[in-house]
Each structure stands twice: as structure tokens, then as C-alpha cells.
Symmetry: C2
Subunit: 431 residues, 2 copies
């Protein structure tokens, strides 16, 4: 019998406005899947022979999800003094060049995935570099851990250093080969990844659209309306289009499987098109602040658009989704709205899963879900211990975690029911 | 012979635009004061019998300074969902009530000072509560550690719960008694502390002005133009004045020993008055974001005003001055300016000392300065270790520290030459 029970405080979300919370709860898993969750006493009685792990008063939640992050940019995190376009040219492109060597990809992917797990992130939608081997390396490492990850090879055939450019044709061929090799292999999922309109010719954007048509269940990720100079450059490159969003629309890149990073500067008309096509936005708070891109209006929804939350490392400054929520809260405050703790934790679990169309497999603890979960420790530092000790409600505790928490608030991370990170004993994830 | 030498990378500032950096350096101290700093080889030769502590490749810098922080608000850090005035009423005032008990003051001050030292902050200008005993408790703990601290009893006689109100007369008497008891006793300095114009009657502001006249070398701290609702309320309370700043001007509270927290919404005319009177601003980045107060324009200086940088815990979200610089950088980016790493570290050391008129005693390593210094570890986390290992200049290393660093980047903190925090061995500061 392989039934396992994890006891502790249990929290998960059933929808944007519904959650289940068991202060003295239990999560039951079997063969890496969720059986159920609920009150501890009754579940211990129902499964008397289960293998029990007691997490005390700690908070067991679904693993967090990061919907936009660049693994090859780990080494340019915290690079000084630029806004988007100069930052790409001066820091990012040179760093990405190293990924032509598969060994760089392997070692970086291993380090990166370990950092994600330490931070309680069990699923991420990830950019590789232009090199197909960067994506092979990433999926190899992710497969070894059995983490559910989405990744794609950057398509980029202009306005970048020659050493980082592919062609419309090679990018299509290489992406298709990666799709054939990795999409739906185990838990891995492929994402067609034109970096953004600036670095793709019309021919390459056509190729990206063709990849989506040929492979209707892959994803698409790119960047959109992050920065004003970027927008001006796109309008210069595509004078025949009605604007930045219309470029992607024209090449058939919009839709429910497509996530557009940033969208800081979309107007209401753009948001209507995003809504009508079911396209998704990835809101990247630490990055938008770090690169001075602007204040994304999370709660401005003239038309309903699915918005996920993301770290965007290396433009973002932390892989921690807790720190990401900290700055998301601050951006909302500056916009005069409030990101409640329940909304925040819904967003980084079930909300992000919904946005990535993965809520049938991850994001909460309904029966049959893949058992990716984390154990949060609200006493991760002495100050957090002092502060969280004064919390008198779940909401206060969650808020303390999202404002004061970082990787030290993550006591353990489980993937498909297996512990891949334990802050008490581990220094690195176990492949 | 009590000469001590600390070897490592040495960095300190001689002015806003001049620094000294010794990649293989040494800091020489004697009896708690700086003798000199410079190249390691020559100083080791000059002081052959000194007691040597080798910090390897770590970075030795003057202790950081926090110019605006509320020690009694440690337990309301990360309280949800309000802007300034509601935040005060719902969280801060109830929490401050506990400080009528001197034991609360003692234990909180001890915890707070320990947290400051862990974060590399060796001097802070601190708010107590309305209770004189909260300031006695603070100075007692600070005296035991021999830290250079500034603190004052809050003066507050209206628009606050009755249990937290003093009177114009009692606040003057109590403040004067605290000045007599603590000002310049050892390293302790007194700060006249009317909370802000909203919570003081004209009589109490008159009393505050009188305290400054009677004690020309004490300091003043208060809040100014943090939030738009606050400004509107002040204008309603003082219709006879030309604006918020004019209230403080009228009661004689402006001047070089006066530091005004926030000043997010001062106009150019106000800044001219601040400049003409030599008054100081404390810029509180994490607080301004957390409470949605607005984006302070650090580099907008139509008239030169001395601006220090501060955590403003509990409105601020971290006691770490590194994290504070992280968000200061982001606010500058949103304003279209750039906070360079050298400017940033100048500001939190010598710059803040100058703003507090303490640069004759602390802030850098010129001979005779009090030997308050820290040892920064750019490899404080595995990701920082990886990232900082790729830095090729001092500026890059500093930037990595201010964007990625928190208390884990502080390896040790020395006060008057004595180690009060050592991350390798300590759990708390040694009194």
C-alpha cells in the first residue's frame, strides 16, 4: 500500500473565490497523485495503514507556479542600470551565447531547477536560448526530477547579435524537432517561443504561427508591450500593422495557449482583443520595477483577461514567488487597488494553473491531481517567527508569508508525492 | 597594545563622489576607533604586533545607517491592505499601546537592536511610542550594546486613541526629562518626536519648538507629505497655514537637525524652503511602495536638499538596508533615473551620517572615527554566490549585494571595534 498522509495546516483553492482550509488537516496521496485532503482526524481514521509525515503547524499548499522565467538569465540577474532594450544588448545576449555549449545548459538547468524547488515553485514556463540544446538540457534535467515544466527554444532571426540568430526556417525545423522529442514526454510540455516582435522577421512569425497550427496542443510564449521604447521600435518595424498586439494577431499567435509577458502598456482596446481571443498575460512585478517598465494594472479589467504572475528572472530580481507577491502587492497599492492574501495565493497556485490550462492536473488538491505540494514555514526567520506568532487569522498568516517570506519560508517541496527539497536536510534537489 | 587589524576588501566613502577601495585591504582600529585603512601588506608591516582578523575576500564597509524606523512597530510589519491613516488606526496605535509596559519596551528593543545588527545597521534614528518608558527601555538596551542610536518619545495629543495621547505640557516635560537623562550619554542621542501635524495640537507643536530652542543640539524627527489623504487632513486642521510644510515652519521645527520622513508629495517651492532651512528628508522606499504612498523622486533636486535613506519599519517591509536599496533603485527606475551602486552605498553609510550631522563620528574609515563596521558576504546564498562569482568590478559586486542581498549577506557586524554579530556563530547580539 503506497498511501501517504501529510498532516499540517492545509490550504488550497477551488476557484478564484473559494478555498478549503483545514487548520488541523491532512493531505492524502497515492502513487504521486492526490487522493483527497481534509480534516486530519477523520483521514487518519480512514487510512489507518498510511505512511504519515507530520509537518506540525506548517502550511501545506499546492506547489507554486511561475509563468514566465528565463533559465539562461540566472547569471545576469541583478545587472545594473538599464531599461529593456539596452539590458538585452548589454547583459542578456552575451550571457545567452554560453548556452551553445550543452554542458552550460545542463549545469545551469540543474542549478535553476534546484532554486525553483527551494523557493517552492514546482512548475514554470521557461525560456531557453536560441540553441535547441539549451532546451534539451533543460528538459533532461526536469525529466530526471519528474517536475512539470514548460519550455521552448527562443526564435530570433534579427536585431540580435549574429551569434544568437537562427533563421525562420531553422527555427521552425528545430522547434518542431523539440516538440517531437519533448512535448508530453512525461510531464514536459513544449512552448513555441519567438522572443518578441523586434527579434523576429515576418517570415519567422509566420513560422511560429505555422508551428501552432501543426501542433495544436503546444503553448506559445513571448513578450508584449513591456517598455515604451520597445513598443516604438515594433511600430517602426511593422508600420503596416495597427500596433504591437496586432503584429502577433496577424501571425496567428493569439489564443488561450498563448501567454504574453508584461503587457504593461496595453490599452483597453488591446485588452478587449486579448479577452476575445482568450490570450493570457504574465504579470512580472519585480521585473517591471527593476527595469522601470511601469505599473501593470492587475485589477483593471475592462474586458476579462486571464493574468498569471511570474518572476521573469533575469529581468526579475527574485525566483521567490513570495517575493514576487510582495512586489505585486506594492504595485497594486500604487495603483490604488489591493491584492488580498487569498487572491495572491490563489493566483500563484490554481490561478496560474488555470492560466496555463493545467488546472486539470495541478494547482490544487482535488482528487486525482498530481501531488506537487509545498510546506510553508511562517517562522522561516526570527522576525517572521515573532510576527507570525501574532497572527490571528489565515489571511494574516498568508500576508505575513507574502510580504516577509522568501526561500527560508519554504520548509519542503514535494513533486509527484516525492520530497525533492527539505530545508532541514538538503543542500540540493535529489535527481 | 590594543591595535586590531581586519583584513579583506575595504570600501568606504570620502564624499558623495569619492571613495577608497582596497581589494586587498586592511582596517586598523584601536580602542574602538579607526586608526586608518589601506593596503593590507603595508599596514600589516606597519603594525606587526596587531591582533589580526582575516575576513578573506569579504567586503569590509562602515556600518549602515537607517534614518527613520519605528521600533515599536516591529510586530505590525506586514499588516494588510491599508494606506497611511487607516493603517495607523487599525494596526499601529493598538500595537503601540503595549509599550506602556516597560518590559514590552525592553524585550522589543533588544530584539529590534539584534535584528538591526544582523542586517548590518549600526546606527538608526528611531521612534519610540508616546510612553517615556519606551524610550528609556530603548536607550538602556542600546547603551548595553554601546551602539550609536537616536531615539525620541512620540508627542501626540489629538486624533489618536485616548490611551495613546499625552498633552502639550506633559510631552514637553517628559521629553525634557528624557533629554536630560539620555542625550549624549555615551553614544545615545535624543530626538524630539512629534509624530506628525495631524496628531499634535498647535500647543504641542509650540512645545516641540520650545524643546529645540532649549536644547539646541538635539534632533527632530517627524513625518511630512507622505500620503494625499494625510496632506488634506493637515490642511483642514491648519487652515491658517500655507500648507503642510508651513505648519512645521511656523512652529520653528525646520533646520539641519530636523529629518522629515517621506516628503513624497512636496512641490518645488516646498523643496526650496527645505533647502533654504537645511532641513533633511528621509526617503523610505519599501514603505512608500507598501502603503501606496507614491514614488519619491530622489534625483529631482531643484534646490539641494539632504536626503537620507530609511527602512521605516513597520510601514516599511524590511529592516535590511540592502533590501531598502533594492526598492530605492526600482523607484528611481520608475522615475527614469538611476541609483548607481556607488551612490547607493555612499548613501547608506557616509551620506546618511552627513544627513544626521554625524559624519564627524561615523560613516567612513577616516582616522578617529568610531569603529562601527560590517563584513559583507556577497556569497550569502547559493544564488548570490553563483552571481557574484561572475562580477568583474566593484560596482557589479555592490549592485549584486543591493539587489539580491538581505541579512544573509551580512557576515559580521562590529560596534566600536567589538563584534556584536557573527553569522557563523551567533544567534543573537551580545550585550
Amino acid at each position: 500500500m503506497s498511501i501517504k498522509i501529510h498532516t499540517g495546516q492545509i490550504l488550497h483553492f477551488l476557484s478564484a473565490v473559494t478555498h478549503e482550509y483545514f487548520p488541523s488537516g491532512a493531505l492524502v496521496t497515492e502513487d504521486g497523485k492526490v487522493v483527497t485532503c481534509g480534516d486530519k482526524e477523520s483521514l487518519l481514521a480512514r487510512y489507518p495503514q498510511a505512511d504519515i509525515t507530520d509537518h506540525g503547524e506548517r502550511l501545506i499548499m499546492p506547489g507554486m507556479i511561475d509563468s514566465h522565467v528565463h533559465y539562461p538569465q540566472l547569471d545576469v540577474i541583478a545587472s545594473y542600470g538599464e531599461q529593456l532594450l539596452d539590458w538585452l544588448n548589454n547583459y542578456t545576449f552575451p550571457a545567452e551565447n554560453a548556452f551553445k555549449d550543452p554542458e552550460t545548459g545542463r549545469s545551469t538547468a540543474q542549478f535553476f531547477l534546484n532554486e525553483l524547488l527551494k523557493n517552492g515553485t514546482t512548475t514554470a514556463m521557461v525560456y531557453g536560448t536560441v540553441h535547441p540544446q539549451s532546451v534539451d538540457a533543460f528538459f533532461e534535467q526536469s525529466s530526471a526530477l519528474n517536475t512539470r515544466m514548460l519550455c521552448g527554444k527562443v526564435m530570433m532571426d534579427r536585431n540580435a547579435p549574429e551569434y544568437l540568430c537562427d533563421t525562420a526556417e531553422s527555427s521552425q525545423t528545430d522547434s518542431q524537432a523539440l516538440i517531437d522529442r519533448w512535448h508530453k514526454k512525461g510531464r514536459q510540455l513544449y512552448v513555441v517561443t519567438p522572443r518578441f516582435a523586434i527579434t523576429s522577421t515576418p517570415e519567422q512569425l509566420t513560422a511560429a504561427g505555422q508551428l501552432l497550427k501543426d501542433n495544436p496542443d503546444v503553448y506559445l510564449q513571448t513578450h508584449l508591450a513591456e517598455n515604451k521604447a520597445e513598443i516604438a521600435f515594433v511600430e517602426e518595424l511593422f508600420p503596416e500593422r495597427k500596433g504591437y498586439l496586432d503584429v502577433y494577431a496577424h501571425y496567428g499567435l493569439l489564443g488561450p495557449r498563448s501567454t504574453f509577458g508584461h503587457c504593461v502598456h496595453l490599452d483597453d482596446q488591446d485588452l478587449k482583443i486579448m479577452s476575445d481571443t482568450g490570450s493570457r498575460i504574465a504579470f512580472c512585478p519585480t521585473s517591471n520595477l527593476f527595469l522601470g517598465s511601469g505599473l501593470f494594472r492587475l485589477h483593471h479589467q475592462p474586458s476579462p483577461v486571464s493574468v498569471s504572475i511570474a518572476s521573469d528572472v533575469g529581468g526579475g530580481t527574485s525566483l521567490s514567488m513570495l517575493q514576487t507577491l510582495n512586489e505585486a502587492y506594492k504595485i497594486c497599492q500604487l495603483n490604488g487597488t489591493s491584492l488580498s492574501p487569498l487572491e495572491a495565493f490563489y493566483r500563484v497556485t490554481l490561478g496560474n494553473a488555470e492560466s496555463l490550462l493545467l488546472d486539470d492536473r495541478i494547482g490544487n488538491f482535488t482528487p486525482g491531481k498530481e501531488a506537487d505540494f509545498i510546506v510553508l514555514n511562517p517562522a522561516g526567520t526570527p522576525l517572521m517567527e515573532r510576527r507570525s506568532g501574532k497572527c490571528t487569522s489565515l489571511e494574516e498568516l498568508l500576508f505575513c508569508l507574502m510580504i516577509m517570506g522568501d526561500d527560508r519560508a519554504v520548509a519542503a517541496t514535494y513533486v509527484m508525492g516525492n520530497c525533492l527539497w527539505n530545508a532541514m536536510t538538503d543542500n540540493e534537489a535529489k535527481p
